[in-house]
Structure formats: structure tokens, C-alpha cells
Amino acid sequence: MNAADTSWMLVSTALVLLMTPALAFFYGGLVRSKNALNTMMMSVASLGFVGVAWAVAGYSLAFSPGGAGLGGLTHAFLRGVGLEPGPAAATIPHVLFMAFQGTFAIITAALISGAIVERMRFSAYLVFITVWSLVVYAPVAHWVWGGGFLGKLGALDFAGGTVVHINAGVAALVAAVMLGQRKDFARQATLPHHVPFTLLGAGLLWFGWFGFNGGSALAANGVAALAFVNTFLAPMGTLVVWTLLDLRRSGKATAVGAATAIVVGLVAVTPASGFVSPIAALALGSIAAFPSYFAILWRARTRLDDSLDVVAAHGLGGTVGALLTGVFAQKTWNGTADGILFGNPRQFFVQLLAVLVTIVFSAGATFVLLKLVNLAVPLKVGTREEGLGLDVSQHGEEAYGSGEGAILVLPDARLSVAVPIAGAEPAAEGGTT
């Protein structure tokens, strides 16, 4: 065990965990205020439900020895996951590796929620993401990182272009289609109720992403530094290009656009971060701005209510990143493989294959899962509840309560006996205890 590596991985794990609350704010700012809490809770809940599922079975399915398609149950309930280094990371405690990977499962499930905000029944959502993390996320993680067939084939995915972003993006697409549109979609303007939250979310996501990509080196070494610096540069390129596209289109550099650009750049560099040179990362980030920018414009003209554009940002951004990894990868930087630009076109096709396999599996499995969940609990809330807002209808709360006209419902029998400590006398002009 190496203390320096452990130190970095402790930090990285904390950073990635922070990304899920960050996502809650990124998404939460983009919806209407009557759905703010529901949207945030879709991320927060993942921290609980997917996290527990990960400890119970997800980690084992993804990372314990098994077949080409799925791991076994050796590590179910964290059996055999101890303080000594595990097989996947030779210099840090096994249990820390488990937690680091758990943060990935949590945020991947939470990412999906952006496509289905403002209309999904919360209990159905809880069932959906919990099971999804076991039957969709865990297998794909196994294929790429857990000893499965994509990793063996040589697919490069440093920190989760396929496993996390394409996977979530495709699931988001399927979920958006299956739930159908919000009742006001394309009928009424649904403005972001709190753009500063979206900027806050983007800032914290970037911060956390240093752990996501930099931590995927599983050590505090040169590869970590490379992944880190690429995570630093790529979104800068995306942000500049996006801003210029915005200025060119309407003369206004939008803040929602800037926040989106940062996320798209981070998504795109994720699979590439440990494999390409820093200047290539800057190029990759800049290039990745274009498809997502225009996809978002185009999506708004379709009938697809992928409400917060998860498909354009994560699905498409992840795909572009995964493919460009096959273009820009450079053995002199990563010691592993070259991409097209450095004379190895094969890598590109391996990347393409990994992308396609992930798309097909994620789409199919998510579709079946949602169908099943729908049998147990209807996925969508009623039109009335949608109109009232999901904060009140699903959570019994308002995000920004003013208290006007709020009448306290006194419990049947307000205890008239004093609480035990009530003997102490109140200070000063204090109330009567």
C-alpha cells in the first residue's frame, strides 16, 4: 500500500461524491421553481439508494471475478473487501477502490434524471434507478473496467465515456420517450428558475471531475497528472467555442450555455483524459462543442422532451469523446495505445464498437426495466400533480416557503405536560417554556 496514492484516492473519492449534489444544483436550477426540490431529490436519492445497492451487490457484479459479461457475487455485502489492496488497484485499500467506484454508479444513475424531470413519480424513480444501477450500470462497468470483454478488446475508456456518459445518455433518451412529454412542453415557455444554481452546479461539477478523471489513474502519478490537466484544459476549449457560437448566433453569450459548455467539455474528455496529450485535450474539448451545441438547438424543434438535454450533453458528448479518443490517443503520453492520428486506425473502430455495444445494451435494458417498473408503479404523475408541481405533490414541501397562509396543524393532543427539562426557568424576556 502506498500512502501517497491512498491520499490522492481519498480525495478523489470525496470529490466524485460531491458531484452528485453538484448535479442536483445544475439540474435544479434549470427547472421551474415548483419542481426544484423534486429535481434535486432525484440526485440526492441516488446517493442513498444506488449507494446501498452498490455495497449490497453492485460492486460485486461489476468488479468481482466473473465472466466476460458480468462479475460474480463474491463481494456481495462487501465480503472480502478489506483494508489491504485489492486486485484492481495495487497500492490503495480495496475498500477505498470500492467506494471510489461507487461514486461513479451513483452519479451515472442521477444523470438520467435530467431527461425526465417535472413529471416522474418519485417512488417509481427510486425503484428504477436502484435496479438500473444493478442491471445496466454494473454489467457495462464490468465489460470495460472489471475484466469484461470490452476492456479485453482494448477499448479505451479512461474514466467512463461509455460506462457513465453514453450509458446514462441512452437511458435518458429511452426514459424521456417512454414517459412522454410534460404537459406544457412546446406549449409554454418553461424557464430555468435559478440560473445561478446551474452555474454553481457546473463549478462544483468541474471541481469534482478532477477526482473523477484524475482519480481514475488510481494513483498519484504522472497519469493522474495527465488526466487532471486534460480535465482542466478541455472544458476551457469547449467554453470558448460555445461562447463564440452563442455570440455569433444571437450576440448574447448565455450563462446557461456556459454552464452547459463546461459539462460537455468534461464529458467529452472523460474517456480520453489519461490517453491524449494536453494540447490534444484542448482541441478535443473545442471540437466537442459543435455537435452538442447544434444538437441542443435541434432537439428543441423536435417532439422529444429530453427536458435538460441529457442526450445532447452526455450521450452525444460521451460518444464524441469516446471516438476522438481513438483519434487523439498517443502512446508517448499514455504508454498504451495510439489513435488514428498516430497511425493506429484500428483503435478508432474498437472505440466505435464499444460505443455501439453500450448504446444497444443500455437502450434495450432500460426499456425493459421501465416497462416492468411501470407495471408496479405508474411512471408518470397525473396531469393535476404535474400542474401543481412535483415538490408539493411528491415531497409535500415547497422549495422557497414564505409561510403566508400556512396554518400549523396542531397534533391531536399537544402535550400539555411539560417536557422533562422544562423546569429550568427561561432567561430574560424569554418565552414561557
Partner: protein, 120 residues
Amino acid sequence: MKLVIAIVRPEKLNEVLEALYANEVRGLTISRVQGHGGETDRVETYRGATVKMELSEKVRLEIGVSDHFVVPTVRAILSAARTGEVGDGKVFVLPVEKVWRIRTGEEDQAAVTPVIPALA
């Protein structure tokens, strides 16, 4: 001159505005209000405290119109704002003694006819 005051559901506001514009009513002022009437209360919970929310979000429109405009204005509101469920709101018509347009100092009828923006 009359002042038409209407309380409507927020989700119906855009339809009401369209109906008013279609009836040539272009000058108006709105504000967010909260109403109490026959609607059932919402219940919310904050930690141990259970709370009954007796007020629902509404939008209030205030429209100064000359007398012969009252009927089309009210009719437009009545039809655009209706859902048929309890909570649709009310329309009040109040007498007005005098109106001024601040920009020009014009009075009464002249004061409530908005300029048509060049490109409209």
C-alpha cells in the same frame, strides 16, 4: 372608464393574455397573488410540523378600459381562464373616475389606448 380586475390561475395566464390581445386589449398590468376560496388545502410537512396551505397561487390582472370595452374584455377572460374546476377565479368591474397616461399626460380614453409598436 372602468377597471376590470380578474383573478385567474397562473397556468391559464398565457391563454388569457392571448385572448385579450386578440380582442384588442393590449394595456394591462398583472401581479402574483394568492387566493383562498373553495379549493381544497394542500398539506405540507416540515420535519415534525404539519402545515395546511390555505392559499393557492393566482395571478391578478388589472385592466383599465373604456366603457364599451368592458364586455369583450370580460368575455375574453371568462372563456380563456375557465377550466371548470373549483379555483378558476373571479372578475370584478369597478368604476373609474379618471385616467392619465403618464408619458403624455393624455386623459381618459386616450390614455388607455396603447401606441402600436412599429413592428407589431
